[in-house]
């Protein structure tokens, strides 16, 4: 029975891959591997290339992680190690609540609050400090890769925080006491707790990354939806999930639909590869001294 349940996971995955490959066969045959590196997306001329979308997806997700991981770990440390219980409980509940908000709500909030905020305050500030970097050149419109990355960061912070908090709480109290008993300060003891929790925190980060890569609505609403690869974070970009959501219902012609399905297949592969790489990276820097169960 359990084998059947476990097998169903594999079966679903395989069915999806097969079905998606089948319906994107037209596009695969037409463009071959060139689809992956093609930079033009022109449905009218029937020319389709996925690279700008792959770029937009990965760049916005990485940006989100850069912002969200330090923030989440800091919040989790505060909740577990520092905050008095009367504060940690409601705050922890709030974090869990944030994780449950639908992404379209985040998207609306990003359009009406986050984008103007970034346009008026953050982007000019970044430009005045780091304007010599290509990353921060261009027109500050408030809509673009940066805003997409920030809204993703806000969306994955609750998940990473909640999981990290649970992982930190699971560190045996004997580890904390051992450190304190040696004359360690609170912060030194926190570092011991973190080294115990490192693999769990890595898992939390991968969970967040997975959500960031696949996130559709909120990103679509603020990333600008223009298929281009630009060095500037202020310029609009496009993500794989967004282009599928935006164009699938309006796609005319078999090749167009087929190309969009192939995008879905690529998203599948990108998720697979990126989380795989993240796991490899984590394994290579992991704490080899943790007890082996």
């Amino acid at each position: 029975m359990l084998y059947i349940c476990a097998g169903s996971v594999l079966a679903i995955t395989l069915t999806m891959v097969v079905a998606m490959t089948q319906s994107s066969w037209l596009s695969i045959k037409e463009f071959g591997l060139g689809f992956l590196v093609g930079q033009v997306w022109d449905p009218v001329k029937g020319e389709f290339g996925a690279l700008p979308f792959i770029w937009g997806t990965i760049a916005s997700s990485v940006l989100a992680l850069i912002i969200a991981v330090p923030l989440s770990v800091a919040v989790a440390i505060f909740l577990v190690e520092q905050a008095p219980r009367s504060l940690a409980r409601p705050l922890g509940f709030l974090v869990e609540l944030l994780a449950a908000i639908p992404s379209v709500v985040y998207g609306l909030w990003a359009i009406f609050v986050l984008a103007p905020l970034l346009r008026i305050y953050v982007q000019p500030f970044l430009q005045s400090l780091f304007g010599w970097l290509p990353l921060f050149q261009g027109t500050a419109t408030g809509i673009g890769l940066l805003t997409g990355g920030v809204v993703l960061a806000i969306m994955i912070t609750p998940i990473i925080t909640a999981v990290t908090r649970d992982v930190l709480e699971a560190v045996p109290v004997t580890q904390r006491e051992a450190s304190l008993a040696l004359g360690a300060t609170r912060w030194e003891t926190t570092k011991i707790v973190l080294s115990n929790a490192s693999s769990g925190i890595a898992g939390a980060v991968i969970l967040g990354l997975g959500r960031a890569i696949g996130e559709t609505m909120a990103v679509t609403m603020v990333i600008g939806n223009r298929p281009q690869i630009s060095a500037s974070l202020f310029d609009p970009a496009y993500s794989i999930a967004s282009v599928i959501a935006n164009e699938f219902t309006e796609a005319t012609g078999d090749l167009y639909i087929s190309a969009l399905t192939e995008m879905g297949l690529i998203l599948f592969i990108v998720t697979f590869v990126v989380t795989g790489l993240a796991k490899l990276l984590i394994m290579s820097v992991a704490n080899r001294n943790l007890p082996q169960n």
Binding site: P84, R85, P172, T174, Q175, R176, E177, A178, S179, L180, A181, L182, G183, A184, T185, E188, I192, S195, N196, N287, R288, N289, L290, P291, Q292
Partner: protein, 252 residues
Amino acid sequence: MGNKIEVSNLNFYYGKAQALYDISLAVPEREVVAFIGPSGCGKSTFLRTLNRMNDTIPSARVDGTVTIDGRNIYAPDTDVVSLRRRVGMVFQKSNPFPKSIFENVAYGIRINRIHQNKADLAERVEKALRDAALWDEVKDRLNESAYGISGGQQQRLCIARALAVQPDIILMDEPASALDPIATQKIEELVVELKNNYSIVIVTHNMQQAARVSDKTAFFMLGKLIEYNSTQKMFTSPDEKLTEDYITGRFG
């Protein structure tokens, strides 16, 4: 010899529940004192008042005084971090850090900045491991995980870790209760050996262990100190009927 620790009229509460009642006793310098008594009698709680480990429990409250070298450790100006450096602790379950064997012992030295340079650090780690009678067993695998050695070795590693910061006092909370007889014997030999340089307080469930390693024994029951005498007297002709009943196995 003088007294290292003097406790007078100590009461301890978890919230509203009182766990220790009016305890007074003295731990002499360079002797081993054993705490015995049935489970839940407060002996571990009492042990943890001696390095203020109970501070980590939010509802815990203490009154009375504990003086170490004549200073009340519950005085408001006490630096708890440096207190704990002077009063080492070994726990019931061995709890090495997820670090290498070397780094486990080096941890306390590093955070307290005891060492002068790298060579000095290595020397101190070696000395602590030798003092814990572990050096010969681990000298070739110092960079391996501390979880790769046996339970008994891990517990001696924890003792080495405690010794490395050069405490005056070592508190041991049932240090051998999770170990097999041979590993237990090693720990006991070590305790007797360490007595030459440290004052040691050991909580134990094992009465033979108390009889073998300690100079004085305190018997606790229901949060009260029933009797505190030389180990010899406790195990041959105790003053209290309760002590005799417990030691001869009539209850507990």
